[in-house]
């Protein structure tokens, strides 16, 4: 199955910031996986909360959406829901294409 592609248009003036931002998101993905393995829902809630606040600020609405799901899932200790959101986050980052204008 070919990876799904997600094209996001970001303001041109943020171009210099995006590579670091996305690199940090990939690290964040690993943090989420580790926290889920450890059953650390407090950390999952904190990371989800942060994703929610920062994602759409940069223009990545999907990250905000996934962050909210993870935060809410952590509050309800919804392991399966969080696992699905993490997988979706992985796919999103893998297929992400950024266009600046």
């Amino acid at each position: 199955m070919s990876a799904e592609s997600f094209t996001v248009t970001i303001a041109k003036d943020l171009e210099d910031l995006i590579p670091t931002y996305l690199k940090n998101r990939r690290q964040e993905l690993e943090t989420l996986r580790s926290a889920l393995s450890a059953g650390d829902f407090e950390q999952l809630r904190q990371v989800g909360h942060r994703m929610r606040g920062v994602g759409d600020s940069y223009g990545f609405g999907k990250i905000t959406l996934l962050g909210k799901r993870i935060e809410d899932g952590a509050k309800g200790t919804d392991r399966a829901g969080i696992e699905a959101s993490i997988a979706e986050y992985d796919q999103y980052l893998a297929g992400l294409k950024v266009v600046y204008e």
Binding site: D13, T20, R52, V54, S57
Partner: protein
């Protein structure tokens, strides 16, 4: 000036401190503000933020709420509870639907909120508004400071008519306890009164053209006033060719009598070059006669509502005036009560020229000391 004030940003510059433990968010906010020409600093936690604020208070704090250690509420409350930082606007970054956080933020003293995720337009609009408010506040502060400076200068000029510049500055700076200073007429105070006048004034007014008399008197009073202020005396009146100076009033001077004698000597010495000039130019022999006495007097503002003088009234003043009349040119006559305070200065020297003088209004002659001053 406090450390905080010393660290205050230069006039016109607007500095923002972004406090967020998420480096991506902090970088994003700093980037947007830089686009507005705003200098931004970043603190990754509450302790770092407070340290930066102590060092150089910013004009605005943009602060995340949920952070490890001190929360945004804690930081806000600390800033608002401190008079030195209470006026720095704090904007909290909260989730739009997080009403509880907003209520807690208001309780902590937050000035505004920005919803996360942050909308560029909203951030820029709020910061622009706060910047305008900040500039208006600075302009008002500058205007108020200027008015205060002008009022102080006006007050200083008024004080300088009576007291030395040093005492005036000390009074205005609150370095002198003004309790009891500038007393009402009902108050009595122990003062040392010094009267000085010009020997040869009658001759001067008869021989010198009237147009020259005023400048000559001004030169005389200028030197005598400077001598009085040199020793921190208060000039109470100038009339004709005489000058009344008080010591230990309006501020306490434990060495008031010594100051009065030193001021009298200084008056004679300061006037000497002028006397030499008058002698050479007008053939006029002139000098200064001084009378000093101590005692309790009434201190206050005397006159009509439309014209008042801050003055001293009492026997010590009358005796000083009469001693001045008796004093020859370049002589200081010190009255008996002033002498009591001058032990250290004059000692019990038998070499002193002691004289008994009869004073109008006094049944018994009084013993005075005559100090002759050799003008240098």
């Amino acid at each position: 000036m406090s450390d905080l004030a010393a660290g205050q940003a230069a006039q016109g510059e607007f500095r923002v401190l972004v406090v967020d433990d998420d480096a991506d968010m902090a970088t994003f906010l700093a980037h947007l503000l830089a686009g507005e020409g705003i200098r931004t600093e970043i603190a990754g936690d509450g302790s770092a933020a407070l340290a930066k604020i102590r060092l150089a208070p910013p004009d605005l704090v943009l602060c995340d709420v949920l952070m490890p250690g001190l929360s945004g509420f804690d930081i806000c409350k600390k800033l608002k509870d401190n008079a030195a930082t209470a006026l720095i606007p704090v904007v909290l970054l909260t989730a739009l639907e997080d009403h509880d956080s907003r209520v807690r933020g208001i309780e902590a003293g937050a000035d505004d909120f920005i919803a996360k995720p942050v909308r560029r337009e909203e951030l820029v609009a709020r910061v622009r508004t706060l910047r305008k408010l900040h500039q208006t506040r600075r302009e008002l502060e500058a205007r108020r400071e200027n008015e205060e400076r002008m009022q102080r200068e006006s007050l200083r000029r008024t004080f300088l008519r009576y007291i030395s510049p040093r005492v005036a500055d000390q009074l205005l700076d609150g370095r002198i306890d003004t309790t009891g200073a500038f007393r009402n007429l009902s108050d009595r105070a122990g003062v040392v009164a010094l009267f000085a006048d010009l020997r040869g004034f009658t001759h001067l007014s008869e021989t010198v053209p009237p147009s020259n008399v005023v400048p000559m008197l001004n030169a005389f009073f200028t030197e005598l006033t400077a001598a009085a202020h040199e020793h921190e005396g208060t000039v109470f009146s100038m009339a004709g060719d005489s000058l009344l100076v008080g010591f230990n009033v309006p501020v306490p001077q434990p060495d008031a009598a010594e100051r009065a004698v030193a001021a009298g000597r200084s008056m004679i010495r300061r006037f000497a070059p002028i006397a030499r000039h008058w002698l050479a130019r007008h053939g006029l022999a002139a000098g200064v006669g001084v009378g000093i006495e101590a005692g309790d007097v009434v201190v206050g503002n005397v006159g009509a509502p439309s014209f008042m003088s801050y003055t001293i009234i009492g026997d010590a003043v009358n005796v000083a005036a009469r001693l001045m009349q008796i004093a020859a040119a370049n002589e200081i006559l010190v009255g008996p009560r002033a002498l009591l305070s001058l032990g250290r200065l004059l000692g019990r020297s038998t070499a002193l020229d002691r004289r008994e003088v009869a004073l109008r209004g006094k049944a018994e002659p009084v013993q005075v000391v005559v100090l002759r001053v050799v003008p240098e």
